[in-house]
Symmetry: C2
Subunit: 439 residues, 2 copies
């Protein structure tokens, strides 16, 4: 009977969960037309029953025990919006064991325990849908799993953290320091009180790992590829980048190079007048190159209540129509025999932007150039301005100037070896900055 | 038995068909993994058996009669790559009647006869997949039908014709005339020998009609909305636009305004430093705004052998897995009772760019400004340069100068009425140019 409603349980009624509950309440006809059956919210589980929330629910629907969803045989699909790993992992396993299909937005959980969870779902003949886990409202999981199935994806290049992108945009547009930009991001709700995972690159790396698993069938631990956030950048780096014709973005990339998979999450110089350079504020962007289709790009809100709810609702509809049941068993994720090896980070080749803070005295540039030369790193351009960049650092009785060098193509390994030598020069004041440059 | 191959027939082995046949031949394992069964090309039908083609096929596979596919009971899915309306329409009806599921790239056919063809497919319990009909390799049909199903789409804003975009890019970057740019497009294979449908806006309008049908459930005849190509533009228009902070794109847009659907295919001024402004050469771009997700954007190759083949293969895999059978019956296309009325074109409101060629004598600007003012059209800015734009037109003994006016927001209707009056001024040398400006 196609008219029989599908009962839904939501575990986790925070910002996104409230958005999902609102759409289910406000757009029942639209959803029924597209899902083929009415979707009925039957239970919602929260951690703290006393916390005020943005939606009123009928008496008896709300509880604080996930077992109310897990053990309700009438619930067919569970929306799993529990953050973190514990108890999120156990709740998802219990839902699958209880025969529920699951829709989730938890990227950290899939990044760390996706293999176990997917195996359990397959064993139980159930599905996990996770469009909301990566790039919020952008239907990027669907693009990989449906739109580009004729392709072997050969590269992913993405802005996956809206908080970092907002801060970088703010620094460039308002000429504000990193600290000031972070403060506005927090005031405007684009950064959490503790923004560590966003600004240190962890969040972007978790999302990249999920995309790489889908696109390349490889489980990559976060520890094996270079990852850095935006917290060490100075406004001057953004200004020098601009002078060289670039804008700085926190770029997550994964690509096949000679049959090996190369991954990076690093602040990166992106050329002006490209699509990526025009991704401003809290927006996300994902570039997917396929061996048949060539380059494709996807843009949209990377987070936020309704964009993420849009992804959850799409997954609910896919699950209820049965499309997920056809797609999920064929996803080439978490294969036991990965088809690609990971490129050792020392062999990753790029052009690099370098900024050293050095004593304003003769021969410093010559010393640095000599060390780079001995490591076969050739210099493409140098910026060394006179005042007003010249300044006396607090606590230092030395005149320090920034020295910016753009290299030709070289490897991470060569860069690291050269930097080690350079860091021993007495004229150098640490830290220095290194960023790759897009081609 | 999941290992049993699915037999495929291709009708039309031109550029795209050859690409599809090559992928089926070269990537059997990839396709089997994703489709669940092997896909086997069983028959290919061409118009002219003697024409050389880019793929060798086993003896007996190639024929010149579509009936060989239509009447072969072993063929489950037909790839319909016949252009135009006749006999393309009849061939598709025959395929559906014979119980085949169909994958097609024919936008003109779906634009004109989609309602009939979809009805026939539903009646026969078969499906039509058409990702390749709009925006080549960009999985835009999938984005509307899967990724954004939680949304009512509220606006579409797109560059859908790669030939026009290539020509406009060429004019801007090489400072070449329209005629020269068209010639390079033809030399490079981005424009056909007869490029009429591409450059006069018809191709983009047909694609917009298909997107609008999916997104809004409305069948819109091409005749009811403003449509113009790039063939009347002068290099000077692109230069003036640049001076005003814009780039000119052939923009196809459809959006809901106060519950009515407004459609346009017109050369349009797009602001610098936006995503759309960075779509260069033969690329396509589609912006979809949803009431839940907000703005999302999709970019990629809009045509070409392999990008379009990528879309066909994705449709084949969706059809073979059974996903299309779940999606197709629920598409809200060609509804008998359209949910939205079409906005009369006179009521479409925009800012406008105007270029008049006028006699270089006093009071002309005052006369034009007076007419605009009486139609309540207010002027935002004016460009009137002295030499070198001043010139004696061949066959005219008058000194003619271009007068460029940017208006504030007004309606198409007000503009048309004002233009009619302005065209009667003796100082005016027709034709004049009018382009809307994106907000």
């Amino acid at each position: 009977m196609p008219e029989e409603p599908v009962n839904i349980g939501i575990i986790g009624l925070g910002t996104v969960g409230t958005g999902v509950a609102r759409i289910l309440r406000d757009e029942p006809e639209r959803i029924q037309r597209r899902a083929g059956r009415p979707l009925k919210l039957r239970r919602a589980v929260v951690r703290d029953l006393n916390k005020p929330r943005g939606i009123e629910l009928p008496a008896g629907m709300l509880g604080d025990d996930p077992q109310a969803v897990i053990n309700d045989p009438e619930i067919e699909v569970a929306v799993h919006l529990v953050g973190g790993i514990d108890p999120a992992r156990q709740i998802m396993l219990d839902l699958l064991d209880a025969g529920k299909n699951v829709v989730t937005a938890n990227k950290a959980l899939l990044c760390e325990h996706g293999d176990e969870l997917f195996a359990r779902a397959r064993e139980k003949g159930r599905t996990i849908a996770f469009e909301a886990a990566v790039a919020g409202g952008i239907p990027i999981i669907s693009a990989i799993n449906h739109g580009l199935t004729g392709n072997q994806i050969t590269s992913i290049s993405a802005i996956l953290n809206g908080t970092s992108n907002f801060i970088l945009t703010q620094m460039v547009q308002e000429r504000s320091s990193y600290a000031e930009a972070l403060r506005s991001a927090q005031e405007l709700g684009y950064a959490e009180a503790d923004p560590t995972m966003d600004i240190d690159g962890t969040d972007a790396a978790q999302k990249l790992v999920i995309l790489a698993q889908l696109a390349f069938g490889v489980k990559v631990p976060l520890s094996v590829f270079p990852r850095q956030g935006i917290d060490l950048l100075d406004l001057s780096d953004l200004t020098y980048a601009d002078e060289l014709g670039y804008i700085v973005k926190l770029l997550a990339s994964a690509r096949l190079v000679n049959g090996r998979l190369e991954l990076l999450v690093l602040p990166t110089l992106v050329r002006h007048h490209t699509l990526l350079a025009e991704v401003h504020g809290p927006f996300n962007a994902v570039g997917l190159t396929g061996d048949v289709v060539g380059e494709t790009w996807y843009f949209g809100a990377g987070a936020g209540q309704m964009p993420t709810a849009s992804a959850v609702i799409a997954d609910l509809i896919d699950t209820v129509t049965g499309r997920t049941a056809l797609t999920f068993p064929r996803l080439e994720v978490w294969r036991t025999s990965p088809p690609f090896e990971i490129q050792p980070s020392a062999e990753i080749a790029r052009r690099f932007y370098l900024r050293f803070n050095v004593d304003d005295r003769p021969h410093v540039l010559a010393d640095i150039a000599d060390i780079l030369g001995r490591h076969e790193i050739s210099i493409a351009s140098v910026i060394q301005h006179e005042a007003p960049e010249t300044e006396l650092r607090p606590g230092h009785d030395r005149l320090i100037v920034p020295l910016v060098i753009m290299t030709h193509r070289t490897t991470e390994g060569a860069m690291r070896a050269a930097e080690q030598e350079i860091s021993r020069l007495p004229a150098l004041l640490p830290p220095h900055i290194r960023m790759p440059v897009t081609e």
